[in-house]
């Protein structure tokens, strides 16, 4: 049904999922009424498979690690600062992790997420499990991701209840002093920019053995 599948894809044995029939019905009506065009699906998929994804956010994080002045601009006005790297489309607030503060982004009411910068949210971010627990037991949720924070680190949960979108500026991992901005960007994961993970130092030969 999505464009980049050829059409004989339809002749599968089991009956089509009722939801899929309902969606195809809606799609065909909207296309007939000139409110939807069949190229939209392909363009949307390629937009998030290629152009927009965590790699954009990772570049912003890496820039902030290497350029303190940029970091200040990023923390002062995220939307403005990401435009310096050619990104946009979001009212962005960046919240900084420090040795004593760990930030976590969520949306308990629906699924607000900085998708214009770091792509579509993972299913767990939109799940009832995450949305229900993240504001009342963030530390327990972090443990679900294998991250245990000491009590001395304050946890701040940013529950996105308006059109502002939040992103975490993770701590720069130790042992990365010699790395280029591009190399640093490769270390930054989507989960670290949501706050359910920290950025791991690069796999040094010692640890790879």
């Amino acid at each position: 049904m999505s464009g980049h599948h050829d059409d004989d894809h339809h002749h599968h044995a089991e009956p089509e999922h009722p939801l899929s029939v309902r969606v195809r019905a809606l799609e065909s009506l909207l296309v007939e009424k000139g409110l939807l065009s069949s190229d939209v699906v392909d363009r949307v998929v390629s937009l998030y498979e290629k152009d927009i994804g965590p790699h954009n956010g990772a570049r912003v994080v890496a820039r902030a690690w290497v350029d303190p002045a940029y970091k200040q601009r990023l923390l002062a006005d995220g939307s403005e600062a990401i435009e310096e790297l050619g990104f946009g489309g979001v009212d962005l607030k960046v919240v900084e992790n420090t040795p004593t503060v760990h930030n976590l982004v969520a949306c308990t009411l629906c699924s607000c997420y900085p998708h214009a910068l770091i792509g579509l949210p993972p299913t767990w971010y939109k799940s009832f499990e995450y949305r229900s627990r993240v504001v009342i037991e963030p530390r327990a949720v972090l443990r679900d991701f294998g991250l245990s924070l000491p009590e001395s680190v304050d946890v701040r949960v940013w529950d996105s209840s308006a059109e502002l979108r939040y992103m975490v500026l993770p701590l720069r991992p130790p042992g990365t002093e010699g790395m280029s901005e591009a190399e640093l960007a490769k270390l930054v994961t989507r989960d670290a920019m949501i706050g359910v993970a920290v950025v791991q130092p690069p796999a040094t030969p010692a640890s790879v053995r």
Binding site: M1, H17, R22, L30, S37, S38, V44, L47, L109, D144
Partner: protein, 234 residues
Amino acid sequence: MNGVHDLGGMHGFGPVKPEQNEPLFHADWEVVVYAIARAARVQGIYNIDESRRAIEQMPPADYLASSYYERWLASEIRNLTEKGVVTAEELEARMRLLAERPDTPRPKKNVPGLADRIVAAAHAKPHFKKPGPAAKFSVGDRVRTRNMHPKHHTRLPRYARGKLGVIHAVHGSFVFPDTNAHGGGENPHPLYSVRFDARELWSDSTEPGHDAVYLDLWETYLEPVNGDGPGARR
């Protein structure tokens, strides 16, 4: 609206189960649902607040039993029928037709420039921030959220109603969902980031530590609190 969508602080849903190398979409129909939402938004058929309100109006048991894009689909159908773009009968008829002849090819009509507008919108500066009245509160003010229980769409979750908070940031005036979700106009007015200590929200059920939750709340949700804060007065 006090709905089952308002999940903050609920128990009983179990551990978070991240999916390893998860695909962008889990089924072809999900991509189409996503595309329909983007097309409706960019053509102004209905706005983002209306789309959320329509999700929240799903029957509670259906909401909790539906996957993410299933909820989007329910919202799209409700909004598109409410706006008269499609009728329920039209949709039922088309579903019967497609069910009987599953190999009906997907229509191949393009709307010139629609896809470009959708991609452009993904990069364009959002337009939720609009001129509005001057902010009543300033950073550091102590406020209390109203213990409001409106039936209409609202962005003040139940777990944070009637709670003491501190203004963390003043965002300026933003379109107000409570009216914008119901065709009641944009009514932009001051929006604040408000910090709530975890203990204020959950008292002894709070995890050990000095944690906090930050919510973006409109001035209409907030009442001043007497005390040291400059803007605080009752």
